[in-house]
């Protein structure tokens, strides 16, 4: 029975059951993003002190729901779609145990709904970190546990699919680099979910009275095994997508497969240890543990990111130069398809993730300078550069690529799509930069009232801090508009986009119903051949001089910013 189709536009193979799973996971993820985006408006319009929209209790409820829906539900649902794509489609094989994958999906769905019900009923405004001894309602924890179990099942279906591909010999040699990146993400996911289970199951039992006490420090350490590592799933996933987009749009091949794989290997070994940067100011934990986990280990992971940051633009540069864009240092970059949201989204993501997210992350992860920004709005600013303009924008970009390929619909409102990465990326960058500034002035994160009206211990922020928060909020509103543009295009395409395949109806798009049976007319996809070995050319100069200059720019920016922060630390403790 033929169960595969090949996309006539892209050449990607889709296995019938895998395709349905990709669709439903992506669609539910996008719904979670919609919820999170609406809530973001409440968050920024409250943190903008002159507007100060929501009352305190609503603000904390909304902020809890914003964090969980965006960071956990949107991203992880979407990642499940990415995993199925990177295994079944890229390896051209059937998905292992699709029934289990569906069970996992439904558990995730039930968990996500249950958690949202708990949060919106108002008695679980414990923030996404849900630090004990704050207590949420039992179904808050149970929802997250079910979600995590469901995700774990889908991750194991991914590993099972790798085995299927290997046994049925659907590819030659090693798995493609993008799949290797997805394997990295899946491995990190297993540790992430295991940490979550270790701490959240006892916490759930505590919330229903079976366990009398959860140690607050124990909770923090193990919870961040979940909280931070899940961000590393995102990094591995979105970097894999960068490689994919470089290949699809430019025909770019990694400058060295071996080096890129080595960089992913460094992630597998070291990236998760960086969870310790959340514990830098916690008493009771030794400096040895902190330094080992955040410095020696983390810098190896940072090195890996630098490798990806160099090799992806480098590969694109080489490919573009091969097409004749050789003038000067940057013609290859100027002539990139800036009107194509798949490219502009990825490009903005690479730059903001590297320059803003990367640099602020290394700064914050340094024990001493962490002290000047710990728990300030600088922290959300940093991770909006990683997880929003980094991961989220990349996922948006790949959605534009997948709507025709996976959903068989043309993009609805293509001119909106064309502007969307600029509006979203631009707005969020404003929000991020100004919140970084405000954080440096000490403005707290997760704080309803900058005025401390009626507080026993008040603090007066300089007037400039208010201005920074206000400008940041305007950027945030622009970001929400950009998010709305994405949703209009994505959902609009599934509803009204021109059908590229007559049977691509509403149920096919939203409920994962397979296309007409006749579309699946391939029994066994052609075996995926190993990419031919790159010619060992010995160049006199560096093959990608433009990328080299950009990398140097990043390094200089980093060094200057690092220096400024140490200087600032010295002035906080009047040392010089």
């Amino acid at each position: 029975m033929a169960e595969f189709r090949v996309c006539p536009d892209s050449g990607f193979y889709f296995h019938k059951s895998a395709e349905s799973l990709m669709k439903v996971n992506a669609v539910v993820g996008i719904v979670a993003l919609l919820v999170a985006g609406l809530l973001a408006l409440g968050v920024v319009l409250t943190r903008w002190q002159e507007v100060h929209w929501l009352p305190a209790d609503t603000f904390y409820m909304v902020l809890t729901a914003h964090g969980i829906n965006a960071l956990i539900f949107w991203i992880i649902f979407f990642e499940m779609a990415v995993l199925h794509f990177a295994s079944s489609t890229l390896l051209r094989c059937r998905i292992a145990t699709p029934k289990w994958a569906w069970a996992g999906f439904f558990l995730m769905l039930i968990g996500a709904v249950m958690n949202n019900v708990a949060v919106f009923s108002g008695a679980s405004s414990v923030m996404m970190t849900s630090y004990v001894p704050m207590q949420a309602e039992p179904h808050f924890y149970l929802g997250i546990i079910l979600f995590a179990v469901g995700a774990l099942i889908q991750v194991f279906v991914f590993f099972g699919t790798l085995v299927v591909a290997q046994q049925e010999k659907t590819y030659d040699g090693s798995v493609p680099l993008v799949t290797f990146g997805a394997i990295t993400a899946a491995i990190i996911a297993v540790f992430t979910i295991a940490s979550g289970a270790i701490i959240l199951i006892p916490t759930f039992l505590w919330s229903i009275g079976y366990v009398s006490h959860i140690d607050a420090e124990m909770y923090r350490v193990i919870w961040w095994g979940l909280g931070h590592s899940s961000q590393q799933i995102n990094v591995a996933a979105h970097i894999s997508i960068w490689y994919l987009v470089a290949g699809v749009l430019f025909g770019a091949r990694p400058m060295s497969e071996k080096v890129s794989r080595f960089a992913f290997l460094l992630y597998i070994f070291f990236l998760q240890l960086a969870s310790a940067h959340h514990i830098l100011v916690d008493p009771g934990i030794s400096t040895e543990w902190k330094i080992f986990n955040t410095s020696y280990a983390m810098y190896l992971a940072v090195l890996a990111s630098m490798i990806h940051g160099l090799t992806i633009p480098g590969a694109i540069e080489v490919a573009q130069r091969g097409k004749g864009y050789t003038k000067g240092l940057f013609e290859w970059l100027r002539k990139a398809p800036w009107g194509n949201p798949v490219w502009s989204g990825v490009a903005i993501s690479v730059v903001t993730f590297g320059f803003i997210g990367g640099i602020t992350g290394v700064v914050m992860g340094t024990e001493q300078i962490n002290l000047i920004i710990h728990n300030t709005i600088y922290v959300p600013a940093h991770f909006h550069a990683t997880v929003v303009t980094g991961t989220t924008l990349t996922f948006m970009a790949i959605t534009y690529l997948l709507i025709p390929v996976l959903f068989r619909r043309q993009l609805f409102l293509p001119w909106v799509a064309k502007m969307q990465p600029y509006v979203f990326g631009g707005g969020m960058t404003i929000l991020i930069l100004f919140m970084l500034g405000a954080g440096t002035m000490g403005v707290s994160r997760r704080h309803w009232d900058m005025d401390f009206a009626g507080a026993a211990m008040a603090f007066e922020y300089p007037a400039i801090a208010y201005t920074l928060m206000a400008v940041g909020a305007i950027g945030g509103v622009l970001g929400v508009v950009g998010g709305g543009m994405f949703l209009a295009v994505a959902v609009g395409s599934l509803l009204f986009g021109k059908k590229l395949e007559p049977s691509a109806g509403i149920l096919e798009s939203f409920a994962g119903k397979p296309l007409a049976a006749s579309v699946y007319n391939i029994d066994k996809p052609e075996v995926l051949a190993m990419a031919p070995k790159l010619k060992e050319e010995h160049h006199k100069g560096f093959e990608a001089p433009g990328t080299f200059i950009l990398a140097m720019l990043l390094l200089v920016t980093f060094v200057v910013y690092y220096f400024i922060n140490w200087k600032y630390l010295a002035s906080v403790w009047p040392l010089g």
């Binding site: 090693s174 297993v190 193990i222 290997l265 597998i268 070994f269 310790a276």
Partner: protein, 53 residues
């Protein structure tokens, strides 16, 4: 000389290759590393915090 070098290269690649091509070995390492250095070591630190008198 150059033959020797080529052989070494191949040897090295095959060891590395078998690591890279084995997702379950990678899974084991990727879970064991943070479990030992982050979780287990971290818990030992917390357990060793003296109880307040």
């Amino acid at each position: 000389m150059s033959d020797q070098k080529n052989n070494d290269e191949e040897e090295r690649i095959s060891g590395w290759q078998s690591l890279i091509d084995n997702p379950f070995l990678l899974l084991f390492i990727g879970v064991a590393m943070p479990t030992v250095f982050y979780i287990v070591w971290g818990i030992m630190e917390i357990v060793n915090v003296p109880v307040a008198p």
